[in-house]
Symmetry: C2
């Protein structure tokens, strides 16, 4: 029997790669529900190819246009919804066994929680869910029996390395970071950087927001917090190492000082497929890693002076409570402002530092409190941006 | 309850490091039996420290001297045996749960088989056992329920990577090789090499025989054959890559093209302890791997023109039957002659090539036939050496 999937964020980078994996393995997977935003051309193609039972798009207007554009026989076979309610319907569709949460940003929080409450397994590509609400999400998943399977390449690597090992035998995990577009740049070069500079990621082809997060190392900071919740490890047992080639996706050091690592070409389809097939692996025909062709794998410490956001993220994680949600929400605003050229690259970190300073931390926030802190952080980040921006 | 161990080859490199692991974990392990050769000073120390029930040494004369030198109260508590019968008694001691076979060369074959027939788990450091009699040993182990746990760092790495994975999901294994002392030498430099040159291994501190085998790449060839039997893989799914830093101990490529690797400082205590504690891991206080200090891990193809023995070993493995036993026995003779400066370094490979040419392969040899082929190969190797040697 094929595994029935719902994909939230089906037209984004992770969503389309997930559908590549599904298309290559029609006997293994079936698409029950898709949720997307405004890319109706892509959504229509996906409906034609995968015949989902339910599709949700961003707005009522998009839903109407989509219905009109579909061939009548397809329009009859698919339920078309829209907005947050539509996304929640996709996330908790009774037929879906697993929900792939590939929505970017804190927008993914509520539907992920809905899927967990409905007892679905989660293939988690939305790291903000665990960053903002790790304590709630892990508790709920334990209560409903939902398994949270990481899709991020680093967390998938850790997950693969600890498979079959006991939790107590893990001494330390080591997340690798490419170092992003500004790995070898000076602070002065970063100060002058334009969005196109930050979007020139050396190894991975990803969405714009995560590519800027790679350039600030905020992406790695979010991953540290995500790893804390996924693997139940304290922050002093989660380290980051710069590995420019992005071949070693992360490592685990065990209590006997043996180290396991997962490697591969930078191709998100590998961790996506592992989350979908876990604990099995199925044959894939994409190119194998050729270590001899790669030749050399290098490792160095991250530079805290050039990338202060990584330290800030650790501090936010250690403080916990509502602080990670606030810093994450402010980061979404700041990255968006940077991409629209409203602020400079280094002003992203200024905004986050000020948000962390100003935020009144709630120690065990409810979902409502998290959403309030998120809203406060977005509003405040905009105000800070207006004050500090040179534009 | 501590796990009760017998160690065959207790005064050698692997034997003493096994006892280091035991000494560091007295609550986890207990020594039941030890077998050694002629290093009586070391054997006496080991008896005092570990209080085995049975000890076997090389000769009757050594056994008598050992008994005389022991304090009377110790001499009463330990049964002292000698020779092959003594080694077999240690290998099949009724109290031992696991036998560490750290004897060098084809000498380890009979006691390993005795231990398997007695249903013991085997921590296998004697790769010649599987090289010479892989078909018999794996069949016997399946029949008696003995588990064969690899101690070689490469095979331990593979074993750690496939733990928890299904056999069918393994696509290919990749054994790493430091390249040995002559990794970057020309054939002309090898021709003039003295034993002291071949014994200057870049990374690992090991016994003399295996260090010379590293310099010829015969060690890697033997490991390829060992891996074939341990992991049930055809030879075209076992590859070798030169990795001069000896940090990545080996890698597994799975059907989904994900690659797992095991890494660590070059310290045999890690794979030894893993074999002893498998499937658990216990805390060790030796230094952790510092990837940033290592800085760079490099990989390249082995050079078949400079190291023809690796290809010969693959051919021997693929042909199978009694050929690997014959080539292995001839190699033991040739390495011994080289270490005693009776032949030059490149004459090792000449001897092996001629043995492979001259050997009449028996396709499913019995243990007796394997021992006959071993004896034939030793005698013939000496004859070839006499003919070709320039000394």
């Amino acid at each position: 029997m094929p595994k029935k999937l719902a994909i939230l964020g089906s037209t984004g980078s992770i969503g389309t790669q997930t559908l590549d994996v599904v298309a290559a393995n029609p006997e293994a997977f079936q698409i029950t529900a898709l949720a997307a935003g405004s890319n109706l051309t892509e959504v229509r193609k996906q409906i034609e190819l995968f015949r989902p039972r339910l599709v949700s798009v961003g707005t009522q207007e998009s839903a109407r246009r989509l219905r009109d554009e579909l061939p009548p026989e397809l329009a009859r076979s698919v339920q078309i919804e829209w907005g947050e309610a539509g996304m929640l319907a996709a996330a908790s569709h009774p037929d879906a066994e697993m929900v792939v949460t590939a929505v970017v940003g804190s927008l993914g929080l509520s539907p992920t929680i809905a899927a967990i409450q409905a007892g679905k397994d989660i293939a988690l590509a939305n790291k903000e869910t665990l960053v903002a609400a790790g304590h709630l999400v892990t508790e709920m998943a334990a209560a409903t029996g939902s398994r949270i399977l990481p899709v991020d390449s680093e967390h998938s690597a850790i997950f693969q390395c600890i498979h079959g090992e006991s939790r107590q035998s893990v001494r330390r995990i080591l997340l690798t970071a490419s170092g992003g577009a500004f790995r070898d740049k000076t602070r002065e070069e970063m100060r002058r950087a334009r969005p196109s500079d930050a979007l020139a990621h050396p190894n991975w082809s990803m969405g714009a927001k995560i590519t800027v997060d790679s350039a600030t190392l905020m992406n790695k900071g979010l991953e540290v917090i995500e790893a804390h919740w996924l693997f139940g490890l304290p922050y002093d047992r989660i380290d980051v190492v710069i590995h420019p080639q992005s071949i070693v996706h992360s490592l685990v050091e065990f209590e006997d000082r043996s180290v396991l690592a997962q490697l591969g070409s930078p191709d998100m389809r590998v961790p996506i497929q592992y989350a979908l097939t876990y604990p099995e692996r199925i044959t894939a025909d994409w190119p194998a890693l050729d270590l001899v062709a790669v030749g050399s794998l290098t490792f160095r410490e991250p530079d805290p002076d050039r990338f202060p956001i990584l330290r800030l993220a650790y501090q936010a994680g250690r403080t916990g409570g509502s602080l990670p949600a606030a810093v994450n929400a402010a980061n979404e605003v700041a990255v968006d402002l940077f991409l629209r050229e409203k602020i400079g690259f280094l002003e992203i970190e200024q905004i986050l530092l000020q948000i962390a300073d100003q935020h009144d931390v709630i120690s065990q926030p409810s979902l409502a409190e998290i959403l309030q802190c998120d809203a406060w952080a977005r509003k405040t980040a905009l105000q800070i941006a207006e004050k500090i921006s040179k534009y």
